[in-house]
Symmetry: C2
Amino acid sequence: MSNLIKPRTLSGFRDYLPNTMIAREQLIQTAQRVYRSYGFSPIDTPVLEYTEILLGKGSDETDKQLYRFTDNGDRDVAMRFDLTIPLARFAAQHAQQLGTPFKRYHIGKVWRGERPQAGRYREFMQCDFDTIGTLANAADVETLFVINDLMEQIGFERFNIRINNRLVLNGLLEKVGLTDKSVGVLRSLDKLPKIGREKVIAEMVEFVGATAEQAASVLDLAELTGEPTEILSSLEGMLDGSEAGQDGVAKLRELFECCAKAGIPDGRVGLDLSIARGLDYYTGTIYETFLEDQPKIGSVCSGGRYDNLAGMFTKQELPGIGASLGLDRLLAAMEILEMVESASTPAEVFIPQFDASRLGDYLAIARTLRAAGLRVEVFPEAKAIGKQLKYADKKGHKFAVIAGEDEFAKGMWQVKNLQVRGDQSDVATAGLAKHLKSLLAID
Amino acid sequence: MSNLIKPRTLSGFRDYLPNTMIAREQLIQTAQRVYRSYGFSPIDTPVLEYTEILLGKGSDETDKQLYRFTDNGDRDVAMRFDLTIPLARFAAQHAQQLGTPFKRYHIGKVWRGERPQAGRYREFMQCDFDTIGTLANAADVETLFVINDLMEQIGFERFNIRINNRLVLNGLLEKVGLTDKSVGVLRSLDKLPKIGREKVIAEMVEFVGATAEQAASVLDLAELTGEPTEILSSLEGMLDGSEAGQDGVAKLRELFECCAKAGIPDGRVGLDLSIARGLDYYTGTIYETFLEDQPKIGSVCSGGRYDNLAGMFTKQELPGIGASLGLDRLLAAMEILEMVESASTPAEVFIPQFDASRLGDYLAIARTLRAAGLRVEVFPEAKAIGKQLKYADKKGHKFAVIAGEDEFAKGMWQVKNLQVRGDQSDVATAGLAKHLKSLLAID
């Protein structure tokens, strides 16, 4: 029997190999760049926390999904299952030092021991941004802009951000006298795409205790479609007399006005009053983001405004607004849409070794090219050139820079396009970096 | 009694607040950029692994430091305590697909339940790069170049990389007939800086069983100092007749020749035969890196060549070489050396709101500035301007861009240097981005 241990990962966990990881790292760096460009600051919190911190007092629903254990110091600890509760704990703990408004982003792994399914993992990355401590609608507008820039900078043009505002629905419920039945109304409304208008009305009447007229009013609102400005005008009429409702309409109106003023492309942002996303948690603006070419994968960036982040930890009221970029979902969509490079090396340029005694020269030219901003791999062994180029082919380098004794004597390098057979040229050392950069369209 | 849960982290764990985290993120991005520029590819592995994978068969020394538990599926699992064993598992598992040489970097958190001490944490970040599957000295030279570039790109000029090669010591031990006593010899030699030459020799004689002559030869070698080329010439004589020794000398010679050819600054790389770092693990070139202005914090980037990475998991021999950047140690040193910015916002530009009805204009100008590459925060509320500027002062924005009704009428913005009292100017919208970029020396 072999003494070897079988190399394997746990069920529901996975390795990221270079080609996937290169794309993931690019995605993360784009998100960091966009977040920073709005003045969001990075923070980090421990992966392990007291279980009490993560679960609160009495909650047990998430318990089963938790990686929870007793540490060597006899503490009841667990691995975080999201970044929101750590943010709440963090904000409460450091409130004095941070001040408000506090804008943070947090990109990190979280763990949930769910039953593994296709495309669902027990370890995954979250990529959240939030503005804490302000009720101003400016933060709601900014959140929308951040989502827009994230998607654009990642490389999407054909996407849609759908907005709703909980206040609008609240206003209507108040107006028709269903405020005390809102939980049931929402639960029924959520089934609209599946069971249709008539059945939703029937359910509201039968199980929630609404009149047919009340139910019809709710459906009329949820089913409003058209240009945002048209919908808003209709809403103003429907919500006449409700302060909350008019407040919601005014906030949405300001949001669309700011979009127009700041040049967010027409049609990019839609008003969708049927979005019920986390309506039990969110209290104001709500966001969902869909890819026009991959609508089925669902929202790739979602979030909203909430009333009080850290009530579990502090008496200080901390309202907030934020959203979360669905990194894994986006990556999957980008692979389907062929937006991900297949290379498993980040280096564009490959330098094979023709002559081992010239190692210093190969390393020196690579160093010069790197100083000019290129990414360059030197093969470590002077194997047969065919084998070295086969390696480059497998990794996905774009150009090879080759020199043997002749080339060294002439001070020339042979630049070979590894993706187009026969496309090659001789270039002097002095012009090599510039030549490669123009071929690669860098700078 | 309050129903609140006290917000706190576990002992030995910590939060990263914005100012520290901004510096850490910059450091990580610099490392990623340098690694990629050499063709190292990112990978990632799960935080949780089977305990058997992490500990191997029979090992228990690290056991006490391990965060180990039984998961809900009754598996014996643990959180990784380094990135080397996951790399071994990864390389063995994906060997076919990856091919060799395989160059990877991995930046991620690891956990060790050590007793917390000043500056030591139970959760910390590792930042490793390795080249797997080649014995070529080119990889050893490249490892040195990577270390050099890492330090330079992070912003250091005054640092020293100290090199040794295990083969040299092996050669001497072979020559003087101490090969079978090498473990004891190394253990004694390691005490040289503490107890001095005479006591080391005494120990070697008394406890290791060397003769005084043998011991003196070892010390003569370890204490060689001077220019690398001089030391190498002396070594050639001392190791005459030892194949391993001459091999080690030739490899070191090539390394220093390549440094000269590629323009690594003179004096940057030193030959230090007393480095005993992990000599039980490393088998060839060994690296340590010291800051000239903070030598006491120890090596900030260390590594070396090893014979077989993944013997626990596969029969395939996978020699490798790599090093690890000590992120936390470096950050601590950079703070002492005042190389870390104190700002707790990544945004240089701050836009206060003078007039809430102009929100769209403020957001639009911010958007224009961002498109030009600036990082801009718009304050979400039209509070008293003094309060808004106080916020910017606390966060550390560098310039404020202010407009009230007068400025809007004129199409001008007031640019105010937040760090120099009274330094301000009026700039038209069209020239604003360019003006700010020149003030900030961006591009």
